[in-house]
């Protein structure tokens, strides 16, 4: 089961962070997942690689993960240890890829009202809220669909389809 409460430090990005920025094209021939994780968000930020601590949360505006279907983008975020991605909206192929890998994506149309780089964020799926723990301010999140939750709770589509192997 995925945790119903996720807490982590925010790394804040803008709108339309495409998968080229999440995982630049020059590394697309890499097949090792741990190596992929090194290039996570390299096209969007020079600081992310140094500042990120496992469990931190990526926060963004609209259309996060738009563009190319490259699963490397979702793999890099997952293997780097991103706790969740919270955005106003997501590109659809990226959305499927992330849930297939067991990476929680949270749709939060008002996240910009509480986003603060370095502030701690709590996502409470039961109360359907995102809370900035420094300011105490909260905004609603959209519930994850039943079908996507089933995949997430299994730890991704692979353990769901092949429980013996995990």
């Amino acid at each position: 089961m995925v945790s119903r409460i996720i807490t982590g430090k925010m790394h804040v990005f803008g709108n339309n962070i495409d998968t080229d920025q999440i995982y630049p094209g020059q590394y697309l021939d890499v097949t090792d997942h741990n190596e992929m994780a090194k290039y996570c968000l390299q096209g969007a930020s020079d600081k992310f690689a140094q500042e990120f601590v496992k469990g931190d949360i990526v926060v963004a505006g609209t259309n996060f993960g738009c563009g190319s279907s490259r699963e490397n983008a979702a793999i890099a975020l997952k293997v780097r240890g991103v706790g969740a991605v919270v955005a106003k909206s997501f590109g659809r192929i990226f959305y499927r890829n992330a849930f297939n890998l067991g990476l929680p994506l949270i749709v939060c149309p008002r996240i910009d009202e509480i986003a603060g780089h370095g502030d701690e964020l709590t996502i409470d799926m039961d109360r359907e809220l995102a809370i900035n723990n420094r300011t105490g301010k909260s905004v609603p999140i959209e519930p994850i669909s039943e079908y996507a939750m089933k995949i997430l709770n299994a730890g991704g589509i692979k353990p769901l389809l092949n429980p013996k192997k995990e």
Binding site: Q26, D29, G43, S69, R92, R96, Y147, K165
Partner: protein
């Protein structure tokens, strides 16, 4: 129901589906390209041994054709081995070209099909009245194992394009104009249908350019109702069997937009997003280092023909290089046969192997820090074609060719007379 819903219902074995519903569908064609060896790894990780439907699977070695790194060569070797082991006969090797064009050329895309490829621009197949959609590697692995995949039935937006295009204006200008108005997140999870008086006047090639770029507004799929143009294209390929679905008259579109295309001039998308669109006039004179003509968006025969028309008997500017990448081998052969290749080579262009080439910044024509490229491809994201401080302008093939001629962004219209 919408025709797109009918395709999903048919493949789900249901009489009816509704927008928002999740359905399991049998896939008619599952394509894997060479960016996604993860598809083979995921297939094994989910317990896959024998591919459920090898006759429906097509493997494309297009993004790294031919490989420029040992890692990419290794991936190609693994795909060839996988195809042999699994009895997948449709292996499109490094000589064939970009997946979407190859399917069109070989008559493998047909109206009414459900086509799923590990490539975001699979929306292109809407030009034939097929349901085309892109997925990642693991979703495709699920299809390899079961022959099926889950889909959320999309709502459909209708975009009416009415009028006649001015000289120097092409489908690429129209779709850039639309994207500039509606913005990059307009159609996330939705189907986009193109209709209106412009459509019957557009070739299949131009329709493919329109549908291809709906990905850049987030669309799940695109659709153009098949007509005489579609049918005669298919007939030339020897294709006579297909299912044409039609939308019920009472279908409620989520939204309907109308554009008068007669008023549109040549367009350009400036760095660094596809929806950062201007009239070309606003950027005339911007110096360019590289002009790029190619890809599943703008590398078809008609695109090469228009570039050849502009550049025949002329020389590209000394400060500019121009790469020409035919979308497929068939495109390349025709470009040779019709003399376009000779014209473009004499003008100083560089030909590149049919495939995706520099479009996605992997190889064959990357740009350096601070360089500017004008391209007929689909994306101008930071770092898309090389250095992240390189600038990319998106435009029509005609604008790309005219700009190469002068070394600065140029209106193609005077060269078309």
């Amino acid at each position: 129901m919408h025709a797109l819903e009918k395709i999903l219902a048919y493949r789900a074995g249901l009489k009816e589906v509704r927008a928002g519903e999740i359905v399991n569908c049998k896939v008619d064609l599952a394509g894997i390209n060479d960016l996604y060896p993860q598809t083979m790894y995921s297939f094994r990780e989910i317990g896959g041994e024998k591919v459920a439907c090898p006759d429906k699977v097509v493997i494309f070695l297009d993004h790294y054709a031919p490989p420029s790194t040992i890692k990419a060569a290794q991936t190609h070797a693994e795909f060839r081995q996988f195809a042999r082991e699994q009895g997948i006969e449709k292996l499109m090797d490094v000589n064939e070209g970009v997946c979407h064009q190859v399917l069109a050329d070989k008559g493998l895309t047909r109206p009414g099909m459900l086509i799923v490829i590990t490539d975001s621009h699979t929306t292109t197949h809407g030009a034939f009245g097929a349901f085309g959609t892109g997925v990642g590697a693991t979703d495709l692995a699920c299809i390899l194992k079961t022959g099926e995949l889950w889909f959320r039935v999309p709502r459909v937006v209708k975009i009416n394009l009415n009028g006649t295009l001015q000289p120097g204006v092409y489908a690429k200008d129209v779709i850039l104009h639309v994207i500039g108005k509606v913005k990059a997140d307009f159609a996330i999870y939705k189907g986009v249908e193109f209709a209106g008086t412009l459509i019957p006047k557009l070739s299949v090639s131009e329709r493919m350019a329109l549908c291809n770029m709906t990905t850049e507004i987030g669309a799940k799929t695109a659709y153009i109702q098949p007509d005489e143009v579609t049918i005669s294209f298919l007939k030339e390929k020897g294709v006579t069997e297909y299912n044409i679905f039609t939308t019920d008259p009472d279908y409620q579109y989520e939204e309907e937009l109308t554009f008068d295309v007669s008023e549109i001039g040549p367009q350009v998308a400036a760095p660094f997003s596809v929806d950062n669109v201007y009239d070309l006039q606003d950027h005339i004179g911007t110096p360019i280092d590289q002009a790029f003509l190619g890809t599943c968006t703008g590398g078809r025969l008609e695109d090469i023909a228009i570039a050849a028309k502009i550049l025949k008997g002329r020389k590209i500017h000394k400060n500019t290089r121009m790469l020409v990448v035919p979308a497929s081998m068939e495109t390349q052969m025709e470009a040779i046969r019709l003399g376009y290749m000779q014209d473009l080579l004499e003008a100083g262009c560089t030909f590149v192997t049919p495939g995706c080439a520099a479009c996605l910044g992997t190889h064959e024509g990357l740009i350096a820090e601070g360089e500017t490229c004008i391209t007929s491809s689909s994306r101008n994201f930071p770092g898309r074609m090389g250095h992240k401080k390189g600038k990319i302008f998106l435009a029509s093939p005609a604008t790309v060719a005219a700009s190469a001629l002068n070394g600065v962004i140029t209106d193609p219209t005077p060269y078309l007379k």
